[in-house]
């Protein structure tokens, strides 16, 4: 195993929307490398569909304060309001900037960027659904990813494609660089860099039914967590209401934004009972809970009564073709149903982590609940928790988050690099990773301790015990299961001992991150004895602002989790009962 050393000022880990946006900001000012375990264009930003909100007011009166209000209310008042104001205010310039870089938005007749309705976005603080989501058909994420990558190509940004970062070097509380594994050769690469941004995305693969890519295994949060950095608000995991039945493939909320309706087995538009004013366009946590409730009450469709229908049949072929071409193609491809004529079987699917690496509004990573900054380390996008999404993210705000806070991460890297001198990284910086890999290579393969078995049990049990509805009982049970899985993981083995494209080795390392993500999710959820946003406790059904208007910080404590808390930063909006 060769160890190759590189020297950069800054390194960005991950080449989805947040990583690429950070790179565009930082590249002109430093020697920068973007490291990704995929090719940049394979990143999961490309799977985002419906849109990116900004109060452009192209269709109707709008302003960013209403966007802020909706985001805070949607977050069930857990988001930090100063951060939300930044998100919503900077949204407008962010969309315009993407357009200037070539993003092919769909257009209105007057040539302006088209905007559509989306869940939880309203005008005048709840009066009616708002046309706020800027979109490019139902492939907005694809277009953002392509546009940002194109911009990076035009700037000559340095990429290390199919290099997987697996370690960070922090000496005396200061970041010195990262260590990566080159997938094609098995070589280890040590990247000296004093500014490092983690933009590694989410970790939806802790659940069985998920809209997430196979690659979304929580690498960035996992690497930092194992170094003692806490993870914030891990109990808040979003289940998107409309995943394709059993497969979990995402069908955008844009389908409902364009007029699609959810129906139970009797054809009833059940969201009228749960959210009388905005119905099917209620925020995702509420719609997913409504679907789960319908199913548990026997109103689900199909032989097992375990799904509901997304009905687009009244929209007409032309609207579907123009505005929802991709998702309707997914339905034709995977379910063999024609959505113009037939309703689509859907169920909630694990979709988005509101929690993650704690950061301030400048994407600087915090190493404790007091807000101590970890010098040189940044995070943006789904891997980070600013927190702008609080307990429940509104649709379209993730694409916004990646560009607004991706840019801020890039700016922070520039500020830091320009005010510090290069550090030198010790010669043996690659040793820890080398040893970890050698352990897997040297240990004889035992099929009873294989990665897929442990991972499958992890995903099945998380689905069973820590999904939409949770209880002390289910979470305690899951804690025990996770502890057993962790024990078995200590003995996990792989059969491939080769150097070239040994993805079995990488799946083994990623499995540890999945265990870390599950541990912190379950521990934080067990402790939070209230229901807020996506975290629904059947044994504590009310939101409890007097005790729980605070963010959780989960620290690694041996093989268990230690929790600390930080108060929510309020602003213009006092917590109120959340009704739609």
């Amino acid at each position: 195993m060769k160890v190759i050393k590189h020297s950069f000022d800054g390194v960005i880990v991950g080449a989805g929307g947040a990583g690429l946006r950070a790179a565009i900001e930082a590249a002109p000012h430093m020697k920068l490398a973007v490291i990704t375990k995929l090719y940049p264009t394979r990143s999961h930003t490309g799977a985002a569909q419906g849109g990116m909100s900004a109060a452009l007011a192209n269709v109707e009166e709008d302003n960013w304060n209403w966007h802020s209000f909706d985001t805070v209310k949607g977050s069930d008042y857990l988001a930090d309001q100063p951060a939300v104001d930044i998100l919503c205010k900077e949204a407008i310039d962010s969309v315009v900037e993407l357009e200037h870089w070539g993003l092919p938005f769909s257009r209105l007749e007057n040539g302006k960027i088209a905007q559509r309705r989306f869940g939880g976005h309203t005008v005048k603080e709840g009066e009616a659904p708002a046309f706020r989501a800027c979109y490019a058909a139902d492939r907005t994420g694809h277009m953002i990813l392509q546009t940002l990558y194109q911009k990076c190509v035009s700037m000559g940004v340095t990429f290390f494609d199919e290099f997987q970062v697996l370690d960070i070097k922090i000496d005396d509380g200061v970041c010195k660089g990262v260590v990566a594994y080159e997938i094609a050769t098995g070589d280890i690469h040590v990247f000296e860099a004093r500014a490092v941004t983690f933009a590694t995305g989410g970790f939806g693969k802790i659940y069985k039914v998920s809209s997430n890519a196979h690659s979304l295994t929580g690498d960035g949060p996992g690497i930092l967590y194992q170094k003692g950095i806490p993870l914030e608000d891990m109990e808040f995991y979003q289940f998107h209401p409309t995943g394709i039945y059993r497969l979990g493939i995402l069908l955008s909320e844009a389908a409902r934004g364009e007029g699609g309706i959810l129906r139970n087995k009797d054809g009833e538009r059940f969201m009228e009972r749960y959210a009388p004013s905005i119905k099917d366009l209620a925020p995702r946590d509420m719609v997913s809970r409504a679907i789960a409730t319908e199913i548990s009450e026997g109103n689900g469709a199909g032989p097992n009564n375990d799904f509901v229908y997304l009905d687009l049949t009244h929209l007409g072929a032309e609207t579907i073709k123009q505005k929802l071409p991709d998702i309707t193609d997914f339905v034709r491809t995977y379910v063999k149903i024609e959505p113009i004529d037939e309703p689509i079987p859907v169920q909630p699917t694990a979709h988005y982590a509101m929690g993650g690496i704690p950061t301030d509004v400048d994407a600087r990573v915090l190493s404790d609940a007091k807000g101590t900054i970890l010098p040189g380390v940044y995070s943006a996008g789904e891997s980070a928790c600013v927190s702008v999404h609080g307990a429940n993210r509104l649709g379209t705000n993730s694409l916004l988050d990646i560009v607004v806070f991706g840019k801020r991460a890039g700016q922070s890297m520039v500020d830091y690099v320009s005010s510090t001198k290069p550090f030198s990284l010790s010669e043996n910086a690659g040793e820890d990773l080398k040893n970890k890999i050698n352990n897997f290579i040297e240990k004889e393969h035992d099929p009873n301790f294989s990665v897929p078995k442990i991972r499958e049990e992890l995903q099945d049990s998380m689905e069973e015990n820590a999904k939409i509805f949770r209880s002390e009982e289910s979470l305690t049970k899951q804690t025990k299961i996770l502890s057993d899985l962790r024990e078995r993981y200590q003995n996990v083995t792989i059969s491939d001992k080769g150097k070239v494209f040994n993805t079995e080795l990488l799946e083994a390392i990623e499995l540890e991150y999945l265990l870390d993500m599950s541990d912190t999710t379950v521990a934080s959820a067990l402790e939070r004895k209230e229901s807020r946003g996506a975290h629904s406790r059947v044994d504590h059904i009310e939101r409890d602002d007097s005790n729980w208007l605070k963010h959780s910080f989960a620290f690694k404590n041996g093989n268990s989790v230690k929790l600390d808390y930080k108060d929510v930063e309020l602003g213009n909006y006092e917590p109120k009962e959340r009704k739609y």
Binding site: L38, Y39, T41, R42, S43, H44, G46, A47, L56, V95, V96, E99, H100, W101, G102, P104, F105, S106, R107, L108, E109, N110, G111, K112, I113, A136, R139, H142, M143, Q146, Q150, K151, V153, S154, A184, A213, H214, S215, L247, I249, D326, D329, F330, T333, Y334, H445, S450, V451, P452, I494, S495, D496, G498, K499, V500, F501, N502, T503, E504
Partner: protein, 231 residues
């Protein structure tokens, strides 16, 4: 149902050339080809190498040759292909291991056509305007996910990897026909080159292969015609 899966395997650390291996699997007709590959990798032979990420046809990682045709393994169901199922790496690019090929020349060709918006004019504080009709002119080619299914189905590319290939031309088309872009002439000069659009012999393999349904051959023809407008 019982499935016979034949995979062209190659491990550069132990093999001098590729060889077929056969796997007998139990599969649901609604499963994806990618699910079958995972079954082999996870429960039979962990060393099987293939790329994959999103598993629903939008990231472009898992283009491969299934029963002789280029497709995304995650986009085709077991019931849609004949059994036994033969899987090979996409053609015309060097094989690294099993179903993984070296994509470098592919991305180099992509970068040659300047795949980014070029417009030096000050755009102002708000978005540039573009009519829905102008936007529609390049709608089809914005869908490209750079999976290489088109380029590696092209018989011209098989014989000469210096040819930029269908995917690069598709990505040139996406900017050449964008009313906001000012660099069509530069791109078309590149595509007039001996390794540019005119190497295309309209075999239409690319159009059949595109998992996004892009009319690739038509886009290439559009670009060829457009090069005639510059001199």
């Amino acid at each position: 149902m019982d499935i016979k899966l034949r995979i062209l395997r190659f491990n550069p650390e132990t093999d001098r050339k590729g060889h077929w291996e056969e796997y007998n699997l139990e599969a649901d007709p609604d499963e994806r080809i990618l699910d079958l590959l995972h079954k082999v990798k996870w429960f039979d032979d962990g060393s099987l190498a293939f790329r994959r990420s999103c598993a629903h046809g939008v990231c472009g990682s898992d283009a491969m040759v299934v029963n002789g045709e280029n497709m995304l393994a995650c986009q085709v169901l077991v019931k849609e292909v004949s059994n036994p199922i033969k899987i090979e790496p996409i053609r015309g690019l060097p094989v690294i291991k099993d179903l993984v090929v070296d994509m470098e020349t592919f991305f180099e060709s992509y970068k040659k056509v300047m795949p980014y918006l070029i417009n030096e004019e000050e755009p102002g504080e708000r978005e540039r305007l573009q009519s829905p009709e102008d936007r529609d002119k390049f709608e089809d080619t914005t869908k490209c996910i750079l999976c290489a299914a088109c380029t590696t189905s092209c018989p011209v590319f098989w014989t000469a990897d210096t040819y930029v290939g269908p995917a690069a031309i598709v990505n040139a088309h996406r900017f050449v026909f964008d009313s906001r872009d000012n660099a069509s002439k530069q791109r078309l000069e590149i595509l007039k080159d001996v390794n540019g659009a005119f190497r295309c012999r309209t075999a239409f393999n690319c159009t059949t292969a595109c998992p996004r349904g892009i009319q690739v051959t038509k886009a290439i023809e559009d670009v060829k015609r457009e090069t005639l407008t510059i001199n």
